[in-house]
């Protein structure tokens, strides 16, 4: 007992510093999030005097009113439609192009690939006015496709690069062997490449989904009808309507970021790997 006490070293100042530092950063990150969640359970009056603590009276109605409103579900539905369109179209077009760049040798291949990667150089915002006019001239203004197609176009560069890198690792002999056996390129793509590439497809899908789900500028420019708004637009409208009724706005924010947080907790490894890998390898 005595000897144990003696041998135990005093608290290492480095460890103590580390613990304090981590705690401070954790509080810095957590407090705004928790205050938002809890604020949704308070009345406006209580929010003003007690924005940090637990609600004295839990106002479940703030949340239930939103959850039972058609508006909330319509926003999520619109977001889901646009993001799904973007993901599906990106995966199809990018994987087909990446397959061609990875396995089919043809004149101009590297030139076309550099052409596509030009898309990495500048953000969508730079050309958003001409893009608006283009989408209008195509008759796609105020449609889901008017938002999703440009999103696909802007995610192509990164997606093709990531997919191509992965496809190239599939042994070339496998393709040669299949071709000799009378399997076509297209069948090989469908029955060998795609099934073998699930991890990278999931990564590209995740990046595209998160970007599209969170996007604000493109839908803001392309959509005029409230009924088509995805949630980032809808929540801004909501905030405009309830300007200082913060308890309602906080409940609405909590409910709209809830799907993202649930998805993140369920698939955290995948999302972290996807978002950082996408960034690094791009």
């Amino acid at each position: 007992m005595n000897s144990a006490k003696i041998s135990r070293s005093p608290v290492d100042p480095a460890v103590l510093f580390k613990a304090v530092f981590l705690a401070i950063v954790a509080i810095f990150v957590l407090v705004p999030l928790l205050a938002t969640l809890l604020g949704g359970f308070k009345s406006l009056g209580e929010l003003r005097v007690n924005p940090f603590g637990l609600p004295r009276q839990w106002e479940w109605q703030n949340y239930s009113d939103i959850l039972f409103s058609a508006r909330y579900w319509q926003l999520l539905r619109n977001s889901l439609i646009i993001s799904s369109l973007a993901v599906v179209l990106t995966l199809i077009t990018a994987s087909m192009a990446a397959f061609t760049f990875a396995h089919v040798k043809f004149y101009g291949s590297s030139m076309l690939l550099s052409y596509l990667t030009l898309g990495l150089l500048f953000p969508a915002a730079t050309a958003v006015l001409p893009l608006f006019i283009k989408v209008r001239d195509l008759g796609l203004l105020d449609t889901y496709f008017g938002v999703a197609l440009p999103q696909v176009a802007f995610s192509l560069a990164m997606s093709v690069l990531l997919l191509r890198r992965f496809f190239k690792d599939i042994p070339y002999e496998l393709l040669e062997a299949a071709l000799v056996d009378g399997c076509s390129y297209i069948k090989f793509f469908r029955y060998v490449t795609l099934p073998l590439s699930r991890p990278i497809l999931a990564t590209v899908g995740t990046i595209t989904f998160v970007n599209s789900w969170n996007a604000y500028l493109l839908p803001l420019v392309m959509l005029n009808t409230d009924a088509l708004y995805p949630w980032p637009l809808g929540i801004m409208v909501y905030q405009g309507e309830y300007s200082s009724e913060w308890h309602l706005i906080l409940a609405f924010i909590t409910l709209t970021i809830l799907p993202t947080i649930i998805l993140f907790l369920l698939a955290q490894k995948h999302i972290v790997a996807g978002l950082t890998a996408g960034a690094v390898k791009g």
């Binding site: 076309l112 176009a153 000799v180």
Partner: protein, 320 residues
């Protein structure tokens, strides 16, 4: 395909006689089934991506350069040619230079505060201990939240009547400030949110890099008598240089496209004090449908992005 068949087929494929499948078809004389197959793939697989990319990415940039020479509100065809006047108007706008300065501030804060913070946290969290994974996830979480939601959360935090900051101020008996409504503090408030939202992403980049480091180098340094600090300063950090350069690159690119976060917080105001390049473009070009003027801003932003990307790659990322 059966496994047995596959090995046989591979053996055949590897024999030199059938090497045709691997040669480029620039010699049109070789027109086997492989060439036909390739042709079908080229015709079917490339156009969708190329078409979408050309239509929605490349053409609009080209058209921005064209439209920027007109005074045009977007209806009918552009007819009122004014040459380079739009660029002159942009450069004469005080708000443009404020936006540029703000982008510079964002980059400065990213380099001076966010990057060291992310690196320190990464060094602390790279080794596993109880709670380290949970902390990593917590710190990464702000990054996946939509910028719009983040902006709204912080416009509550900063709210002068109901917000967290106001409450802290009041507890000291002081009159709560309206941070977002003052030209002096609006940009500071935005900068804090930027650090809150993005440090976790940079931390994850560093953690990924740290985990793939060759541990024996650090051990060797320690055995040779280097202190922990010396090993960190002279071994670990130099090995992280490529990641640091990458992180700086993302910080700068991110600052140049920052928009969503600013809108719910300040909309670029008050008096343009917290505009970024993109929110300046939105407020002055898009929301008023001044296509020519807005396109000129877009072209300037494009030029900045491309110049930056090329010089940065050439100067700092030669080896990658």
């Amino acid at each position: 395909m059966e496994a047995g068949q596959l090995t046989v087929a591979r053996r055949i494929a590897n024999s030199p006689a059938i090497g045709v499948a691997g040669t480029p078809f620039s010699s049109l004389a070789v027109r086997g089934p492989a060439w036909d197959g390739r042709f079908t793939v080229l015709i079917l697989f490339l156009p969708p991506a190329l078409l979408l990319f050309t239509l929605f990415v490349v053409l609009p940039i080209g058209e921005a350069a064209w439209y920027s020479a007109f005074n045009w509100n977007g209806f009918g065809r552009p007819t009122n040619w004014i040459g380079f006047d739009n660029y002159r108007f942009v450069l004469e706008t005080r708000a443009f230079w404020l936006a540029l300065r703000n982008n510079g501030l964002i980059i400065a804060v990213s380099l001076a505060i966010q990057l060291p913070l992310a690196l320190t946290l990464a060094l602390m969290l790279a080794e596993r201990f109880r709670g380290s994974v949970a902390l990593r996830m917590l710190f990464f979480m702000p990054y996946i939240l939509a910028e719009i939601a983040t902006g709204l959360i912080f416009s509550f935090v900063y709210d002068g009547d109901y917000g967290l900051v106001a409450s802290i101020w009041r507890s000291f008996g002081a009159e709560p400030p309206h941070l977002l409504a003052s030209t002096d503090t609006s940009m500071l408030a935005v900068l804090i949110v930027i650090v809150w939202k993005y440090f976790g992403f940079h931390m994850m980049l560093f953690i990924a890099a740290l985990q793939s480091l060759d541990k024996s180098l650090i051990e060797a340094a320690r055995i040779d008598g280097a202190t922990r600090w010396q090993a960190l300063r002279h071994v670990v950090i130099p090995l992280l240089y490529p990641t640091i350069r990458l992180s700086v690159f993302f910080a700068i690119v991110g600052s140049l496209q920052l928009f969503d976060l600013v809108m719910p917080l300040t909309r670029g105001g008050p008096a343009d004090s917290s505009n970024t390049m993109v929110s300046f473009l939105y407020n002055n070009g898009i929301s008023r449908m001044r296509v020519g003027y807005g396109s000129a801003i877009g072209v300037i932003l494009f030029a900045i992005c491309v110049t930056f990307a090329f010089t940065y790659k050439r100067w700092f990322m030669r080896d990658e």
